[in-house]
Structure formats: structure tokens, C-alpha cells
């Protein structure tokens, strides 16, 4: 990357994002996602470009970029691996998974592992907070796709597959794309992978399966007596 200037396509798309909103500044969060997609991180040039389009100061954009944890000042790997170490996942084994991955990749939190000879892709590692998948604990996210019910061994195998350039799929989602490609989806530019993966994972279906077995349903609307008007206001 000789120059860090954003290309015309990206600049056009940044303006497109701002135009989705009644007030352009509302586009800033997705715009910063697009900057990350185009440049691999939040660059000074990306900050300047957003500031110019929104007619605010670079300091204001920078203040926003530093507030949110998904924005990275330094680069991440092609595959950014997040291990949930919030209490529930930590207890279920997330702490062990995170420790094993640090050890295996020989890096600390929020660092990129060395690209070894023969690796075709890079990985980075971070411990993350609850990712709303606690029923699949311990949870690992790769480029913000779910890798449910991990163990230290499965996590090590997964990062090795990723480094080798093998295709890896989310346990209830699509084939993994790169971090930069994922950032583009977050900016509001779909990538055509929406129809991959199931409707729901197994844990999500736990209650529904029992209801189906036992014939349990919500009440039949025909069988319900009418409510007296105003009852809900009590």
C-alpha cells in the first residue's frame, strides 16, 4: 500500500451512505466501517475523508472512531478471532480457549499473529464481550460470524485452517469472508451470502422442538374471548 488515499469508488460510496439519512452525520458509523473495509483500519486519510463529506472536523470523527471498539487504529488479520470472555462463556471454557489461542499464536490480546512460511492468510486475536450467543457457550467470533460451542482444540484447528487458506464456515452462518469484506457488509453493502447457513442453530430451536413434540402452541385466536376496551390501561 504505497498511498493511503481513498479511491473514487470508496469516496462515492461514503457519500452514498451519508445520503441514506435525513441528516448526513448519521452515516458516520457505517462510513467508518467502509473506511476499515477499504483501508484495513481507521486511517488518518479515512478520518479526513469522512470529515470532509460530513462537514465536521477531523477531531470530531476521531472522537467517534476511538469510542467504539470495532474500529481499529492498527491492522487486524484477514481473520479477526474474538473469544468471548464475559462471565458465562469464560466459565464455560472461554478463558481456557483464549489462553490456548494466545499461547498457540504466540500473541497477546488485540495482536496479529506472525504469518509463517506457507500461511496464506493472517489471524488476529481479541477477547470480546458477550456476543448474544450465550446458549452456544463458549463462543468464538471470526470476523463477527458465530463459531459456536468451541473447545481449545477446535479453536486451534480453526485458526490453523484459516491460516492455511482453507474454506471455513460459521457454525450457523455462511462461509467466512475476510474481515475487510465483512466490514463492507456492515457499511450496508450486501455481499450475497445472506442465504447461506440455517434459519437457526440447534440451541435456538430447543424450546420449539419440545413444543412440536408435545403439540404445544400459542392459543387459537378464535377461542379467545374479546377484551374489554381500556383494560390494558390499568
Amino acid at each position: 500500500m504505497a498511498t493511503n488515499q481513498l479511491d473514487d469508488k470508496t469516496l462515492t460510496e461514503l457519500r452514498e451512505i451519508a445520503a441514506r439519512y435525513p441528516e448526513p452525520r448519521s452515516g458516520l458509523l457505517p462510513m467508518l466501517h467502509l473506511v476499515q473495509s477499504a483501508q484495513g483500519r481507521i486511517t488518518p486519510e479515512g478520518i479526513e475523508a469522512c470529515a470532509a463529506i460530513l462537514d465536521i472536523s477531523a477531531a470530531e470523527v476521531s472522537g467517534v472512531a476511538t469510542f467504539y471498539t470495532m474500529y481499529k487504529r492498527h491492522g487486524v488479520g484477514d481473520y479477526h478471532v474474538g473469544v468471548c470472555t464475559n462471565t458465562l462463556c469464560a466459565v464455560m471454557g472461554g478463558d481456557e480457549i483464549f489462553a490456548r489461542l494466545k499461547d498457540h499464536l504466540e500473541i497477546g490480546n488485540d495482536e496479529v499473529a506472525v504469518k509463517r512460511q506457507g500461511d496464506s492468510r493472517t489471524v488476529s486475536l481479541e477477547h470480546i464481550e458477550c456476543n448474544a450467543a450465550c446458549d452456544y457457550a463458549p463462543v468464538v467470533m471470526v470476523n463477527w460470524e458465530f463459531m459456536d460451542n468451541q473447545t481449545p482444540e477446535s479453536a486451534v484447528q480453526m485458526v490453523e485452517s484459516l491460516r492455511a487458506g482453507h474454506e471455513v464456515s460459521s457454525t450457523r452462518g455462511p462461509r467466512l469472508c475476510t474481515w475487510r469484506e465483512a466490514e463492507r457488509v456492515l457499511a450496508g453493502f450486501p455481499d450475497g451470502r445472506v442465504d447461506e447457513g440455517p434459519t437457526a442453530g440447534e440451541a435456538s430451536l430447543a424450546g420449539l422442538r419440545i413444543a412440536r413434540e408435545r403439540g404445544w402452541t400459542a392459543p387459537d385466536p378464535e377461542q379467545v374471548p374479546a377484551v374489554e376496551a381500556g383494560e390494558g390501561e390499568a
Binding site: 458477550c130 463477527w144 450457523r172 424450546g207 413444543a211 381500556g230 390494558g232
Partner: protein, 435 residues
């Protein structure tokens, strides 16, 4: 009477349940014409009569919130869906949007119609790319089918929906911080009043509701308020998704009438992990005070859980068995609050830092029993003095754990450290092949 009542989860076992075709084949989007045949005020009345209370944690009556929108205010009105789902333990909105995004879009249309909004936003936490794909696609399909856009179903009503990805900040689940994020600013809560209903997004009248609240609206409109109110308890009506996680045989999502108990849910889920017993649990995420086996029969509705000193919250039932050190669990949550404190007010910014220091010392077995009381004092200095509910929430696990497990804190002091072996708590504990 059915113990479980799948409504929002009912399509999750469908092949490609996220597609409009699947959803429409099951009667999807039929509430639109029912609503358009009613006046917006009548839709609000129906939601009021149903007794629906907010599913995002606080349980505020949804119809009443909508009625606060001043219709004489000439500014545009907005609906904002809170899809930030980040409260530790909470994991219902994410599978809902992944498996059944159209029910949310349908709910957005009917709810926006009721409050006379022509623009709605769905603010989804950024860390769930596939969920965002599914909601983006659902919105695009709804436009193509004429459920969104201009003159929807020939009703004369127009609505545009923007799907907005956040960027990692628990505080953006707090509704006024969310609005800041949606306006392209740092997510720090706003002073209230004015409330968002009067001056919310772009200082215009704004309704902010949780994903599950909005997704509950289509069935209320189609099946009637009485149908919804026939489920649940006297003051906590309807169905809700209960999320079981942790040391249970079959963790997952269980959609049931409000008022079901943890004992009943555990029965369905195959009980606590084999060979172990329930030690403590959260009824509605980490910000709701911990409960114990003593509370297995508490009705999981707003009043029932409130009555035992906790909160129903988001029905995030995180279950921990006797292998888990409560001090370790609480310290980790406290580190979370410290990390997520937005820094706007001193009690929370400084307080959560001190709480982590104090708990870390205790976990290492340092200090004396007096430090426990000091910890409780620190909680008193945060609770009720913070600018928003994040600070209050940070004290919940601490004070409730000291209340129920004071001896365990003391055991750390007498033991000179943690007496528990974390390896015994993992999902794979006891499964290792022994040599």
C-alpha cells in the same frame, strides 16, 4: 394449556425461514391490511389493551409509550428499533433477527403507522454480520414486494426503513446513547427530560423499542389484544422468549407466557448439568441481581421477580452450578461494566474502576472482612447517583452476591485465594479421557 407458546420462534424450524416467500406462505404481512383499516390511534389502543410491556428490560407499557408521541408536533416522527442486544446473557433478539427477520420488519411497519412515522431505523449491534445480512435482505425484499416504500398496499401510507450497524459499545443499548450513535456521535446518554418521545432523534418525537417488542406487534394486531392478553399473568401479559444458558442440559430459547418459573424451564431443558446443582442465576442479564435455588418457583414476570429484589430484565437466564466461584463471576462482570462505562459521569467512571480493584484483591484473598463492607459502600455511591442505568446495573451482581454468598467471599480471605478449580466448570469438564 401449553407450557410453551411459540409465536416469534414459530418459524425458526422452517427451511429458509428468513425469506419472504417462507414468511408470506405462513400469512406474513397480513397485519398490514388489518392495521391500515384501523386508525393509527386504534392501533395504539390495541397495543395498550394487549398489555404488551417492553421486552428490552425495563418493561414499560409499549402502547403507552407510543401515546406519548405529541401528534401536534409538526416535526417528523421516528421509530427506532433497539437491536443492540449486548446485556450479558441476553441472546434472543439475535436469533430472532437471523431466523425470522420479516416479523420484525412487519412490526416496524405497523408500529410506524401507529405513531405516524414515515422513517424507521433498525440499529443492530455491529458484531453480528450474518444477522445484519438477514435484516438487510428482509428490508430489501419488503420494498420489492410493496410492503415498504410509497403508498404501501394502496393505503396512502409511506415508510422507509434504514438498517444501521453499530460499532461495538454496550452503552448504545441505552436508548439515548443509541440515538447519539445513530446521529454519528460518541454513544453517551442524554439528559432526560426531554424524553425521546418529545425530543429524540434529530430532536424530533421518537419511539425506541426493543426488537422483541416490535416483533410482537403484528400478531397483536392480527389476532387481537385479547389473544395476547390471554397469555401471561395479570400485569405481565403475553409471550416472551426465555434464554437459558450455562450449566443446563439443553441451553437455548424457550418462548413461553410470562410467569413461567425457572423450575419449569429447567424441567424442559433437562435440568442442571448432570451430577451438579444450581448455585446462582440471573433472571434477566448481568444487571439484574443474582438469585439462587431458593427462587426456583418465582414467577418470571415483572412483579414476581421484582418481588424478590431482582428484575425480570431481558429473561436472560444464565445458570451457574456449584463448581462456579461467585467472586470470579462477579469480578468478570464488573470488568465488563468498567470497560463499557462511557465515562460521562464520575460515580460510574471512577466507581467501576474502584470496584474492579476491590474485587480483584478479594479474589486473590487479600484484605479483610471490612473490605466487603467498603465494597458495599462503593456500590451505594454508584447506585442511584449515576447518570444512566449502566452504573446501577454494575452494582447488582456485587450487592446481590454479597447478600447471598458472603461466606464465599470470606472463604477467599481464609483460603488466601480462590478455593475453586475453574476447570471443573467448563463445558468439557469430566469428558476428558483419563489415561
Amino acid at each position: 394449556m401449553s407450557t410453551l407458546t411459540p409465536v416469534l420462534t414459530d418459524t425458526w424450524d422452517a427451511e429458509q425461514g428468513w425469506k419472504l416467500e417462507t414468511y408470506a406462505a405462513r400469512g406474513g404481512y397480513s397485519s398490514l391490511d388489518v392495521a391500515f383499516a384501523m386508525s393509527p390511534d386504534d392501533v395504539i389502543t390495541a397495543v395498550k389493551d394487549s398489555g404488551l410491556r417492553g421486552r428490552g428490560g425495563a418493561g414499560f407499557p409499549t402502547g403507552m409509550k407510543w401515546s406519548f408521541i405529541p401528534q401536534d408536533n409538526p416535526k417528523p416522527k421516528y421509530l427506532v428499533v433497539n437491536a443492540d442486544e449486548s446485556e450479558p446473557g441476553t441472546c434472543k433478539d439475535i436469533p430472532l433477527m437471523m431466523g425470522n427477520p420479516h416479523v420484525l420488519v412487519e412490526g416496524v411497519i405497523v408500529s410506524s403507522y401507529a405513531i405516524r412515522a414515515n422513517k424507521a431505523f433498525i440499529y443492530i449491534r455491529g458484531e453480528v454480520v450474518h444477522v445484519i445480512r438477514r435484516v438487510q435482505a428482509a428490508v430489501a425484499e419488503a420494498y420489492a414486494a410493496g410492503h415498504l416504500g410509497k403508498d404501501i398496499h394502496g393505503s396512502g401510507y409511506d415508510l422507509d426503513v434504514v438498517v444501521h450497524a453499530g460499532a461495538g459499545a454496550y452503552i448504545c443499548g441505552e436508548e439515548t446513547a443509541l440515538l447519539e450513535g445513530l446521529e454519528g456521535r460518541r454513544g453517551q446518554p442524554r439528559l432526560r427530560p426531554p424524553f425521546p418521545a418529545v425530543a429524540g432523534l434529530y430532536a424530533s418525537p421518537t419511539v425506541i423499542n426493543n426488537v422483541e417488542s416490535i416483533a410482537s406487534v403484528p400478531a397483536i394486531v392480527s389476532n387481537g389484544a385479547a389473544w395476547f392478553a390471554s397469555m401471561g399473568t395479570e400485569k405481565s401479559k403475553g409471550h416472551g422468549i426465555f434464554s437459558l444458558s450455562g450449566h443446563v442440559q439443553r441451553p437455548g430459547q424457550y418462548e413461553a407466557p410470562l410467569g413461567i418459573t425457572l423450575r419449569e424451564l429447567l424441567d424442559l431443558a433437562g435440568g442442571v448439568r448432570e451430577g451438579h446443582q444450581l448455585k446462582f442465576w440471573t433472571p434477566g442479564g448481568s444487571s439484574t441481581p443474582l438469585l439462587t435455588a431458593e427462587h426456583l418457583d418465582v414467577p418470571l414476570d415483572f412483579e414476581g421477580v421484582g418481588g424478590v429484589g431482582s428484575m425480570l430484565g431481558t429473561r436472560a437466564l444464565q445458570v451457574f452450578d456449584e463448581t462456579v466461584c461467585v467472586v470470579r463471576a462477579v469480578l468478570r462482570w464488573t470488568e465488563f461494566y468498567k470497560h463499557e462505562s462511557c465515562g460521562k459521569c464520575t460515580p460510574c467512571r471512577e466507581g467501576t474502576w474502584w470496584l474492579v480493584q476491590a474485587l480483584t484483591r478479594l479474589e486473590h484473598g487479600q484484605g479483610s472482612e471490612d473490605d466487603l463492607d467498603q465494597l458495599l459502600d462503593q456500590c451505594d455511591n454508584i447506585l442511584g447517583r449515576s447518570f444512566c442505568a449502566l452504573g446501577d446495573g454494575a452494582t447488582s451482581p456485587i450487592s446481590s452476591s454479597i447478600q447471598h454468598f458472603r461466606d464465599e467471599y470470606l472463604a477467599h480471605l481464609s483460603h488466601g485465594g480462590c478455593p475453586f478449580d475453574p476447570a471443573r466448570s467448563t463445558a468439557w469438564a469430566g469428558q476428558e479421557v483419563s489415561a
